[in-house]
């Protein structure tokens, strides 16, 4: 696959690169090393800049006001946008705007008025609640949260865990079992307001990632009106599955981005740090670490772009998305680990972003479907058969 950049892509990437290096990275010197939010005055100033550049709301479909940039170019941009301390989970601290929850674009007109448009205007926040204590890798079988019809309403009972942003959200996209006999065809997707009686955030789940944390939720006879069913009854799993495949490409791109920065830092340090009278960059042990980094990086970058290009071309991309997610998350973890080794003691400190990337990348091998599940997806696609 040919990835020669167009003139327009080169211009866009140069603009984003300069934005990250001149506007975002310098602010991090004054922020806590684990911060994922900017002070409001900086955020407002930078959002105004991205709007002026025409890059705000990158992932919003063009018909809803997005800039209409294809996924391949957005993937290239994501490589750049992740190249700072908070870049893995908060690329550019969100000043390029988000797309909200992709499932809302499939909502009916009434639901779009109540949920999608307020999200796009920045008035409401939502969460995506699929995973349960009984498991997240096999949601079709693991979902035990139930929704039972009661007149025109549904009554939801159950619990969810590892749900990001739920404690600060106004509503959630919640998956519940509506037919226990039908397996993956017995799951329905609901829009649940967080002020509905019976909804509770039990606690925050503390992990290696201190910011953008997740929460544990309880649904105790939450009454949801029938007009809050998103899509068709018993067709919720298809909504979840589509989102999971599509999200793997930007998920991989973020991994590639921080790894590119870690490699840049490792090379720069190796060229300035001396041991026994000569630079680290002259030592074969260090050279090989940098070479192995380069191989991991180029592999992950190419596979991520391949997945994006197939999606842009309207071709099936589930296999490619699974491969790029696992290669990028595993490769980036190795790159950052080697960069820390090259930096020695400094690599372990909060003075540098490497330790944050190291912690957060560990989550990337589990999040959005563990890498073992990605391998299962690829196995099914190349060998055939179903999961067992």
């Amino acid at each position: 696959m040919d990835f020669e950049l167009s003139t327009e892509q080169k211009l866009i990437l140069e603009t984003v690169r300069r934005f990250v290096r001149e506007e975002i990275a310098p602010l991090e010197a004054d922020l806590d090393p684990d911060a994922s939010e900017l002070p409001p005055h900086h955020r407002e100033r930078l959002v105004a800049m991205t709007k002026e550049l025409g890059f705000y709301g990158l992932d919003i479909p063009e018909e809803y006001g997005g800039p209409g940039i294809d996924l391949t170019t957005r993937t290239l941009m994501a490589f750049e946008m992740a190249q700072h301390r908070a870049g893995l989970y908060a690329p550019c601290y969100g000043v390029f705007g988000g797309a909200g929850l992709a499932q809302l674009y499939e909502a009916d007109d009434d639901q779009k008025e109540r949920y999608l448009y307020p999200v796009l205007r920045g008035e409401k926040r939502g969460f995506f609640a699929l995973t349960e204590p009984s498991g997240g890798s096999d949601p079709a079988r693991a979902i035990r949260t139930t929704a039972v019809r009661d007149g025109d309403d549904w009554i939801i009972d159950g619990e969810k865990t590892f749900i990001s942003g739920a404690d600060k959200a106004d509503f959630g996209i919640v998956f519940a079992r509506t037919d226990p006999e039908l397996g993956r065809k017995g799951i329905t997707c609901f829009l649940v307001d967080t002020d509905m009686p019976g909804f509770r955030v039990r606690r925050i789940v503390h992990t290696l990632r201190s910011t953008h944390y997740a929460a544990e939720l309880e649904f105790n006879r939450v009454r949801v009106p029938g007009r809050n069913v998103l899509g068709e009854v018993n067709q919720g799993f298809a909504i979840a599955n589509d989102r999971l495949s599509r999200n793997r490409i930007p998920y991989a791109a973020g991994c590639v981005g921080v790894a590119l920065k870690a490699q840049e830092m490792a090379i720069a340090y190796a060229k300035t740090r001396k041991t026994f009278g000569d630079y680290l960059s002259t030592r074969q042990a260090v050279q090989w670490m940098i070479v192995d980094n380069e191989i991991d990086l180029r592999t992950a970058r190419a596979l991520t772009l391949e997945a994006a290009a197939r999606a842009d071309a309207g071709k099936p991309f589930r296999t490619e998305a699974a491969i790029c997610k696992l290669v990028a998350s595993e490769g980036a973890s190795r790159v950052v680990d080697r960069a820390m080794q090259i930096h020695g003691g400094y690599g372990m400190t909060k003075d540098l972003p490497l330790e944050r990337w190291y912690r957060e990348l560990r989550i990337r091998r589990v999040g959005e479907g563990p890498n073992e599940i990605q391998r299962l997806i690829v196995a099914r696609d190349v060998i055939g058969g179903s999961f067992h």
């Binding site: 039990r202 925050i204 503390h206």
Partner: protein
Amino acid sequence: MTGIRLTKPWRDLDEVEVALLPGQLGVFEIADEEGSTLELGFAGGHSRFGLRSAIPDAAARHEQAARFRYEVTMQYWSRFEELLAVHVADHGEVPAGNADRGDRRIGRIAAPGS
């Protein structure tokens, strides 16, 4: 809810107790004589001496500060947000020392006993 509260023992805000503070990262609570919370905070990655410097720095902002308690944790940011949310669930508002959060939301955690 009890499992997510800060339940460490209160300590008097004096030189002896401050000198005993660890230089590690973590979260803390500053209170007046009656135990009313004045500020919740954390010793983050930029703190000079971790909790040992962050707690007296925060206490200096409150004339009524008389006691403190703390918890060592590397997950200081999410633990801090959790403690703020618990405080709001208990009291309906953030402590006075945490009022300046701009437009950043406070998380909602179920009120105790609900």
